[in-house]
């Protein structure tokens, strides 16, 4: 098997239910996957399915209830503080709202090199030189180092955030909806930068988005999440080309295709309900919305199983020949 840089297993995190009701929501439930060097793993699902919680767990920005996040064989979650600080250099994150993830009172140069300072790396002079180098690398001007974040557009702020993510020479970068707020012309610019950087530095990416279109475009493998769990995972070609889980099919069918000859409103796939509420432990979480559900789906939770080699899905209809075709 290829060189694995990160191995996630059994990650679980519950929150107290919001809105006064008692009990808890499993925002992330028993999530596991591996990430190969140089690979992009896409994580897709509708809002509230646990993508951001998962990314925070992976970066140890949030304490997991259970599970491990191994980077080069060492568990990031339980590592002692010094080791953890070291591991933290290997994995970085870029958020959706770049402007608010930057410190408005610090110059762009200082923002970019803040992780160096926190890690006690380099002199002030080294850091300036590094900021200038990185600004050029992400397509901005070295002289921009003395300006402040609010002077930049959304796309430029995202470039600054990417420069900051690169400053410690990480192996893995997590992008949490990093291009979701950008206009399409700017989104394409930033995606191109992200792909170019990966080529240049052999980076491994976890690319999180609610937008399966973007995920499809840039990921090697895709994991589909539904209410805290991965319900399907496999190569981008397998997951999008021959989706095995009815939820993946529903997602794919609901994306309007920008071509009126291929898709008009009448062909847009419709499924019941929305992804809210707390799923029952002993049932398929998607069952209430699933056009294919049958008795067993309401009485037992399907586990991930092979749909084809290296392509898993959690559905009782797997390989039963009973599945509907994607709309």
């Amino acid at each position: 098997m290829s060189d694995v840089v990160m191995q996630v297993a059994g990650l679980t995190k519950s929150f107290a239910a919001r809105g006064g009701s008692s009990g808890s929501v499993k925002a992330v439930a028993d999530v596991g996957f591996s990430l190969a060097r140089g690979e992009t793993l896409g994580l897709v699902g509708e809002s509230g399915c646990g993508k951001s919680t998962l990314s925070r767990l992976i970066l140890s920005l949030l304490d997991a209830d259970q599970g491990t996040v191994e980077i080069d064989g060492v568990d990031f979650i339980t590592a002692p503080a010094a080791r953890k600080r070291n591991l933290r250099r290997r994995i970085q994150i870029v958020f959706q709202d770049a402007l608010s993830s930057l410190n408005p009172r610090m110059t762009v140069g200082v923002n970019i090199t803040e992780p160096m300072r926190l890690q006690g790396l380099g002199t002030a002079r080294d850091r300036r030189a590094e900021a200038r180098r990185l600004l050029a690398l992400v397509g901005l001007r070295p002289e921009d180092e003395d300006r402040y974040p609010h002077e930049f557009s959304g796309g430029q702020c995202q470039r600054i955030a990417i420069a900051r993510a690169l400053v410690l020479n990480p192996e893995i970068i997590v992008f949490d909806e990093a291009v979701s707020a950008l206009d399409v012309s700017i989104r394409a610019q930033v995606l191109k930068l992200i792909l170019d950087l990966q080529q240049q530095f052999g980076l491994s990416y976890i690319f999180i988005s609610h937008d399966l279109g973007v995920i499809k475009r840039i990921c090697d493998r895709i994991a589909v999440m539904y209410l805290g769990r991965i319900v399907e995972i496999g190569s981008a070609e397998a997951v999008c080309g021959s989706p095995a889980h009815p939820y993946t099919k529903a997602l794919l069918g609901a994306i309007p295709i920008p071509d009126p000859r291929r898709m008009r409103i009448e062909n847009l796939g419709l499924i019941e309900g929305d992804a809210v509420g707390v799923p029952q432990e002993d049932a398929c979480a998607f069952a209430p919305r699933c056009p294919m559900r049958f008795d067993r789906c309401l009485a037992e939770r399907p586990l991930l199983a092979a749909a084809s080699p290296r392509h898993d899905a959690a559905c009782f209809l797997l390989n039963s020949g009973k599945q509907g075709n994607p709309p």
Binding site: Q189, R217, A254, P256, I257, P258, I265, L268
Partner: protein, 331 residues
């Protein structure tokens, strides 16, 4: 589009400015179009291009110091821009129903769902509150809110985003408007919910034979919903035509670049990413000549000095580009 159709709304040279004369920006610049009953016109453009300002101008909802400085908006032969405010209040929610992006800010959090809808109805119709409530329940059923008779007593925060958008749509259609203006009605929603809301808007518009102005930044939504399309860039309409021509025979370099961008992102990995370089101009500091010239791959010297007007290149296709020739003699 049949030539015999009587337009439901005619917009001519609509022009809106924000800010002072010296330090201001014309954010809607000479926009003209016609809405036809039973048809959906999409207004598509990137953020800040002036789409919402166009919708708000039509409804005369531009807050000072913003102001409409020119144009006419003709509904049944009356100009909405010169009508007394009282008359405008009848038009809003009466002949023109509005649906906005964020249902939570357009719904009053302190009022039950039932009250929000009955208040709209009672403002326009001379009926009893009990009758209005009956109509509100019917409307909620019609937009797909289950258990409507009970749910009219709930408050907006009890509803999911998709359900709130349904409530807003119920309110928008409560007086059977001839025109629906929907400004990014599904932008905040998940894709499976978006599909249902788009279908609902489409079905209602067809049933009522209303005109719809659908504002969106999403070319997928345009392809699914629109009969005709206007592309907006930096306050101007740069291309206007039927949906098939827009996607299969676009003429403006910006439209072409936008479609290439989307194809690069949404299609498959074999299509290279084709970003448009640079970014949209600051409306307070527009370049001379064509507003797209600084980003245009086909730019010529003349584009940097001459501002292109929107010109017909065929009977149903207009383009604002100096490099685009007429297809044949235009009627």
């Amino acid at each position: 589009m049949s030539a015999a159709q009587i337009p439901s709304l005619v917009v001519e040279n609509l022009t809106t400015r924000f800010g002072s004369d010296r330090d201001g920006a014309t954010v809607v610049d000479g926009v003209s179009f016609v809405l036809t009953p039973g048809q959906t016109m999409a207004l598509v453009g990137e953020s800040g291009s002036g789409k919402s300002a166009t919708a708000l101008s039509l409804m005369r909802l531009i807050e000072p110091p913003g102001r409409i400085i020119a144009g006419r908006v003709l509904l049944d032969g009356r100009d909405l821009l010169t009508m007394p405010e009282r008359g405008m209040e009848d038009v809003r929610g009466g002949q023109i129903g509005m649906v906005f992006q964020d249902p939570l800010t357009s719904l009053n959090p302190a009022l039950t769902i039932g009250r929000q809808i009955t208040e709209t109805i009672l403002a326009h119709r001379d009926i009893t509150p009990a009758e209005a409530e009956r109509q509100a329940i019917d409307l909620l059923v019609r937009v797909g809110v289950s258990d409507a008779a009970r749910r009219i007593h709930d408050y907006p925060h009890h509803f999911s985003g998709g359900m709130r958008q349904r409530v807003l749509i119920a309110s928008a259609i409560s007086c059977a408007p001839a025109i629906i203006i929907a400004d990014e009605p599904t932008t905040a929603l998940d894709v499976t919910v978006q599909a249902k809301i788009l279908r609902l808007l489409h079905d209602l518009q067809q049933e009522m034979h209303a005109s719809m102005l659908l504002i969106t930044h999403d070319l997928g939504v345009v392809a699914a919903m629109a009969d005709t399309v206007m592309v907006m860039y930096a306050g101007r309409i740069v291309e206007q035509t039927d949906v098939d021509t827009l996607f299969h025979a676009p003429r403006h370099p910006y439209t072409k670049a936008l479609l290439a961008c989307v194809a690069g992102i949404e299609d498959d990995r074999s299509v290279p990413l084709q970003p448009i370089s640079g970014m949209a101009p600051d409306l307070k500091d527009l370049p001379r000549g064509c507003r797209f010239a600084p980003r245009c791959p086909l730019v010529q010297d003349v584009c940097r000095t001459t501002d292109p007007a929107l010109r017909a290149v065929s009977r149903s296709h207009s383009v604002a580009c100096l490099l685009v020739q007429e297809e044949t003699a235009v009627v």
